[in-house]
């Protein structure tokens, strides 16, 4: 709160320092002074209270002692022979002649002088005799004993009656309560039994007051200048001093305090039987430290007190001294703070002045400060800054001059640039015209796959407008999917960008148009590179191949139908040729047999060709089945080799089999496996010249069975290796070597291998030989449902 205010308010440094330092130093000082004053005050008070208690105890002891000695004195008086004989005489005179008789007066005259002497010597107010019956027989105060019977007249003097009864009954000395008489003093009685030769003859009594203890009360030892002892008694609601006090020597039985008033609190508490101490107001209205207690034996209140000022004199002196020291300290703090603040604010003011001068434009002004501290560092930095400012200013001036020159040049360049821009714009228009005129869909994406260009044909094919397409990721706009499984097929563009090579769509790609119609498309993505070889964009060309697809489908169906139709006559030719060759219908000569055999062989090749064409059509129609079952790989391989025995023998080829012994039984479609092996091995046989050799290796490799068919044949020319798996392709170097072949075998094998989960590849060197590798997964061929099987 304070700090917030302190931050907001606008004060100079000196004032801020003074306020801050004063706050920091004064608060603890005040707290320390207060604590030390308060504790010393408490100590003094407690010490004084203890002392007052001791004095009070001592006074009570002295009072008790005084009255117990008074009791003893009366007991001694009771045993004196003169007392005994006097009492005997008064008893007798009282009994025989009453108090106003002559006889009584004679005895009274004889004895009164001695008894008066006893009374005055002991400062009794009265000395009297009471007979065992309770009759007052003598009194020093009354000239003639009144004859009151204190045992029967209970109202005459109840206090006396009470101790009288007790003295007669117990034969002991007793003292009565001290009664304050209204308008008078205090009185009490002491009674003691008197006996003559063991016979109880009466009671001697004395009336006493409390003047005997005035000396005790007046003893002010240990009470300093203001301390006093006040003894009070209560009569109804009046509390009256029953002994003179130091400050009110005439106050005994005169000065009184009303119960419930705000004066003489200690006196009121004392008569209310409390025993304690505290700072309070006395009967004169002064502030005092007092102890108070009640003396039940006498029904008095005793207050021992001293003026608070006297007790706390030391503490108050300490307070004054602390105030003086505090003031001196305060002045010193203010002085030191002002000096300190000046030492900081002085150089700052100086610095401010210099800054003002500099801001007016005089960059040559410098701050000269020599305080050897952070302010001097600040001044140095400031000077350094001004130096730099000076330098920068001159540099700026140079630059702005240079800039003016450059600006002129830029204007000229701008004009040239404008011309160039126009040219580029014209070129761009031309390019756009070409692009939009192209019959194929063309779009261009940047390396973030965002479409930059989208031509008219692309709009027509996809149903998406230029506006909808540009600026968006191609895969968010154009949905290329696989016709077979509906999964995205658009990765060829991504791959082209990532690899920097041209990529084509896979054959089953369809484009989902804006209206959800699916149309088959074919296309390619060609990355464009800058001079460093970084791909900067990718041109995608695609076209609607619906018509081509339909034609292809029709062609495939035609082949299927034609092949089927072809087989019937081929079978007929084959079977009749067979019957003739078997001489079922009669003997044939050698030439006839030769020609018939040629007829039969040619027919057989035709059957093979038709089978292959049928297989191709089934592969392309997707109707062939893969039906895996547990097979013995090597047995199938051997049976395939055996089928080729005749050709192998004719060409004198060397066959080497290299089978792994630990080959597991795997799940494969035996028919398809046979097709694969037949094609690979028969190709090797077909394309290897006489005396060549063929190695067939079957082994387990990783998670596949690897089949390796190696020959020392004609090989495949490098330039044609990429086409070897194409349908109806045959390499140039074998076309003129009189090797018959359909150009369909490897196409079929590749399709079968890949669709059943395997791979096929080759290594070949022209005139050195070829090695074909194919793998079938150990987990088996992938099952494929289909209505047709492939013919082997």
């Amino acid at each position: 709160m304070f700090l917030k205010y302190f931050k907001k308010v606008r004060l100079n440094l000196t004032t801020k320092f003074v306020v801050l330092f004063l706050t920091i130093s004064l608060v603890p000082l005040i707290i320390a002074v207060y604590i030390s004053y308060d504790s010393s005050r408490k100590v003094l008070e407690e010490k004084a209270a203890y002392q007052l208690y001791q004095i009070s105890d001592n006074k009570v002891y002295q009072i008790d002692k005084y009255f117990s000695e008074a009791k003893k004195a009366v007991a001694v008086l009771a045993r004196m022979p003169s007392t005994i004989s006097s009492m005997e005489k008064f008893n007798q005179a009282f009994q025989e002649h009453q108090t106003n008789s002559l006889e009584y007066l004679v005895i009274d005259k004889e004895l009164r002088a001695i008894l008066l002497y006893f009374q005055e010597a002991s400062k009794y107010d009265d000395l009297f005799f009471i007979s065992p019956e309770g009759n007052l027989t003598f009194s020093t105060v009354q000239k003639h004993a009144s004859g009151i019977n204190y045992l029967t007249d209970l109202k005459a003097n109840p206090d006396l009656t009470a101790i009288l009864k007790s003295t007669i009954a117990l034969l002991e000395t007793k003292i009565s309560t001290f009664k304050l008489i209204k308008g008078d003093k205090i009185r009490a009685y002491i009674t003691s039994p008197v006996s003559n030769e063991g016979k109880f003859i009466g009671v001697i009594g004395v009336q006493i007051n409390n003047e005997g203890i005035y000396d005790v009360i007046k003893d002010y030892t240990g009470l300093g200048k203001t301390g006093e002892i006040v003894l009070v008694a209560r009569l109804e609601d009046q509390i009256t001093l029953v002994a003179p006090s130091r400050h009110d020597p005439e106050g005994a039985f005169e000065t009184s305090v009303e119960l419930g008033s705000n004066h003489g609190i200690a006196l009121q508490k004392a008569v209310q039987r409390e025993k304690s101490w505290g700072i309070t107001t006395d009967y004169k209205g002064e502030k005092v430290l007092a102890t108070w207690r009640y003396l039940p034996n006498y029904q008095w209140g005793l207050v021992v007190k001293m003026n608070a000022d006297e007790i706390l004199k030391t503490a108050n002196e300490l307070k004054d001294r602390l105030a003086v020291v505090g003031t001196i300290l305060l002045i010193m703090i203010i002085l030191i703070t002002v000096l300190m603040a000046r030492s900081v604010s002085g150089p700052i003011k100086k610095l401010t002045k210099v800054a003002a001068t500099i801001s007016k434009g005089n960059l040559l002004a410098r701050a000269r400060i020599n305080t050897k501290d952070e302010i001097e560092e600040l001044a140095n930095s400031f000077n350094q800054m001004t130096d730099n400012l000076l330098k920068t200013q001159s540099r700026l001036k140079e630059k702005s001059e240079q800039l003016a020159i450059n600006l002129g040049q830029i204007e000229i360049q701008n004009k040239e640039l404008e011309q160039e821009k126009n040219k580029v714009s014209q070129e761009k228009d031309k390019l756009n015209a070409i692009l939009y005129g192209i019959g194929d869909g063309v779009f261009v994406v940047d390396p973030d796959y965002k479409i930059m260009i989208f031509n008219q044909e692309a709009e027509i094919i996809s149903g998406i407008t230029y506006k909808e397409a540009t600026g968006k990721r191609y895969d968010h706009v154009l949905n290329f999917i696989s016709e077979k499984n509906g999964k995205s097929n658009g990765k060829f563009i991504r791959e082209a960008i990532n690899s920097g090579e041209i990529r084509e769509t896979s054959f089953d790609t369809v484009l989902v148009k804006k209206d959800n119609e699916k149309i088959p498309v074919a296309g390619s993505a060609a990355p464009l590179k800058d001079s460093d070889g970084n791909v900067i964009s990718c041109v995608v060309v695609f076209r609607d191949v619906s018509k081509e697809r339909e034609i292809d489908q029709a062609k495939t169906e035609f082949v299927s139908l034609a092949s089927h139709q072809l087989r019937t006559p081929l079978s007929t030719v084959s079977w009749y040729a067979e019957m003739l060759l078997d001489e079922d219908v009669g003997k044939i000569n050698k030439d006839q047999k030769k020609y018939l055999q040629a007829l039969y062989d040619a027919n057989h090749r035709m059957v093979e060709l038709v089978n292959a064409l049928l297989n191709v059509s089934r592969i392309e129609l997707g109707t062939f089945a893969i039906d895996p079952e547990p097979i013995k790989f090597l047995e199938i391989a051997d049976s395939v080799i055996k089928e080729q025995t005749q050709q192998i023998k004719e060409k004198g080829l060397k066959i080497e089999k290299n089978y792994a012994i630990d080959l597991p039984i795997i799940n494969a479609d035996p028919r398809l496996l046979r097709i694969i092996l037949q094609n690979l091995i028969s190709n090797a046989v077909k394309y290897t010249p006489e005396k060549g050799s063929i190695t067939i290796e079957i082994s387990k490799k990783d998670s596949d069975i690897l089949v390796k068919v190696k020959d020392t044949g004609y090989g495949i020319p490098k330039s044609q290796q990429s086409k070897i798996f194409n349908k109806l392709f045959r390499a140039d170097n074998v076309l003129n070597k009189d090797c018959d072949g359909t150009g369909l075998g490897l196409y079929i094998v590749k399709s079968v291998v890949e669709q059943s989960g395997g791979k096929i590849w080759f290594e070949s060197e022209e005139n050195e030989g070829t090695t074909f590798f194919t793998t079938i997964p150990l987990i088996g061929m992938k099952k494929k449902k289909g209505v047709k099987v492939l013919a082997s």
Partner: protein
């Protein structure tokens, strides 16, 4: 045992093929019958009770499978021996036919006629 008293029925719509097979089996000494479609084949079969029927599948009018099913309902026909001839090596048809008790099938032109004769002789227990 001789082929003399063994009856073979050939049901095939392609005349040239039917005739070739017919000629072969005649020459082998079988008592040979031929039907040009399922209906004709069924009639001959039920009349002649051939020892073996060589049956084509795809035929106009009543095809091989329909004839086979009807044949199996006949008291004699349900145990008749049938060998399937097919040009199509059609997996689905073959599978259905096998369920109807065909003991074997062959794809025409894949086999030599001699092989067919051997197969039939084996089936009929003629050494």
């Amino acid at each position: 045992m001789s082929t003399q008293n063994k009856k073979v029925l050939i049901v095939e719509d392609e005349t040239s093929l039917r005739q070739a097979i017919f000629d072969k089996f005649e020459r082998e000494g079988f008592q040979t019958f031929q039907g040009k479609d399922g209906e004709e084949g069924l009639n001959i079969a039920l009349k002649e009770h051939p020892d073996i029927i060589l049956l084509d599948i795809i035929m106009p009018q009543v095809d091989g499978l329909t004839m086979l099913k009807t044949l199996r309902k006949d008291e004699w026909g349900k145990n008749a021996q049938v060998l399937l001839l097919t040009n199509l090596n059609d997996a689905e048809y073959v599978a259905t036919a096998m369920e109807s008790g065909v003991f074997d099938f062959l794809v025409k032109s894949d086999w030599k006629l001699d092989d067919l004769v051997v197969r039939v002789k084996e089936k009929l227990g003629i050494v």
